[in-house]
Symmetry: C2
Subunit: 318 residues, 2 copies
């Protein structure tokens, strides 16, 4: 979803980091459907865990590389080998391919933007997690993301590329159909009622979490691609700004946007499994470092709802 929206935005802008885009190569596990664009877009279907892929991807020496590929948290927990293979080795092979390409072309030093996750942190947490908080993930997914952050910082320090790892908040409101992710309800309880559908809420209204819209996420990626990294220094992993909101606050934002009838579509159906998973997630961050570097997200959940309505052209306004 983020990859598709990023390509659409680049096609619309025609430029990145103040430079005209001359070509774009979009790679996914399923054939990407590129939008019309003022530059050629090529596509490929690759599994980045395959050994031959990384060298192929880097052979054209792209100036900017966005690494969004990932096995999600639940799958990385269920399939240990697949998670490490894609989330760690797949990323590391791309880093290595860049290093090897640079050994042949000394002036090659691309910008690498890697999407990391707040799963690099594990409980117990302080009230607001600072960037200097220990990386003690409690999932294999979080471990893999943390390791990629460390590699990215080291490869950047050594001058092999100019990397930035950005820890995205949970993206909300995700467009499209409900998915099976444990975090899916955060979007579902807003999206489904706004579209006149029932939604299931499996946790209590006191659950607090950390959100940003898809539009903010694309803004993060573009800002990360353009940022002067001298200002960032050697610590190349950054927690991005977001909105810390309880489920109750989310519901009140929905009520303000779409009235009681929308809120009535939320079915409370507590699910102990999801409650337990979500209890281990961080709830709030001190993202002052990212803010000082110019990263911007929504400032309250009302704005997140508004962005969804605008960007997804939702017809239903109860």
């Amino acid at each position: 979803m983020i990859g598709r929206k990023l390509v659409e935005r680049l096609a619309r802008d025609g430029e990145l980091a103040g430079k005209r885009i001359t070509a774009l190569h979009a790679v996914d596990m399923f054939a990407p459907q590129p939008p019309p664009a003022p530059f050629p877009i090529s596509t490929d279907v690759f599994d980045i865990a395959a050994g031959y892929v990384a060298t192929k991807l880097i052979a054209g020496r792209p100036d900017a590389i966005f690494l969004l590929a990932s096995v999600v948290s639940g799958e990385a927990e269920a399939d240990f080998e697949k998670g490490y293979s894609i989330n760690l080795d797949g990323t590391r092979m791309i880093f290595e391919a860049i290093r090897h390409e640079q050994s042949r072309h000394r002036d090659y030093r691309p910008r690498v933007v890697f999407t990391s996750s707040i799963a690099v942190f594990g409980a117990p947490f302080p009230e607001a997690i600072p960037d200097e908080f220990v990386n003690a993930p409690l999932t294999s997914y979080g471990t893999q993301k943390t390791i990629c952050e460390l590699l990215l910082s080291d490869y950047s320090r050594r001058g092999f590329f100019d990397g930035l790892a950005i820890r995205l908040p949970t993206i909300c409101v995700r467009p499209g159909l409900p998915n099976k992710a444990a975090s899916g309800f955060f979007s579902g309880i807003i999206r489904e009622p706004l579209n006149g559908q029932e939604a299931v809420l499996p946790v209590s209204e006191t659950v607090r979490h950390w959100h940003a819209s898809p539009r903010a996420a694309i803004g993060f990626l573009l800002h990360a691609a353009a940022l002067d990294l001298d200002k960032v220094g050697p610590r190349r992993a950054i927690t991005l700004p977001g909105v810390s909101a309880t489920v109750g606050e989310q519901i009140e934002a929905l009520r303000r946007a779409a009235g009681d009838s929308a809120v009535k579509l939320i079915q409370r159906r507590p699910d102990p499994v999801i409650e337990r998973i979500v209890a281990g997630w961080p709830t709030n961050f001190d993202a002052s470092r990212a803010k000082a570097l110019g990263f911007a997200a929504e400032t309250d959940f009302d704005e997140i709802v508004r962005v969804y309505l605008e960007d997804e052209h939702v017809p239903h306004r109860p």
Copy 2:
């Protein structure tokens, strides 16, 4: 040095973690010279970066595994590929071999003690670095050690083995000949004068660092092998206690142990390269977590000097 002393101690004790030792397998890059012991000691010369080694090492299903193998900091910085190959991939292959062995023998769950390093931390530092401080290493060596810590925590959480990563202080006073490590002078300015030799001091007396004796290091390893890891929880990387001392304080401890004549053997010869390297190193830690878990080191530098004199049977007492 630590490996040799550990084997000597195990041979003397005949037991580990309250259990009689039935066999010991010592592996190094150079043929280990095992001491007489009340149990059989086998030895092998292997490079742990070689792909076939890890499975071989684990095939005998050892109950306790001490991972001390490492390319040192300077070499990992000078040879990027060698550092990652030995310090990261070599360790990961052993973790993987244990996981595969467990998939065939479900009750196999060995204790793994991994020697990490205070290099997992990078400047800027707080006055005393707590265990919850961010892992932002500024060397490839520190990056590799941090990644191994993360893997060890995840493999332990998943139940593949019971691991503990211990961040050793700089070991001081190292016995034997001077070496080329940037940290070598910390031992040299004590060891050489105690043996009637001149020593070179390349930094100012105000430089502060974090030390423990070889005897304390062996104590750490044995304690880590015996510790109830339920008390440790999921964060399996621990900063061990040590003595935070300035070079000036080291010299005064030498004076108290061996008099002015010994101190006069220290030649002040400032080396800007070593000064710059050492300036990036941490100076002090809050090791309260390790202390609460029963890890114990020396409490002042006088004790570190005394331990050297006792354990190395130094004849020279000026």
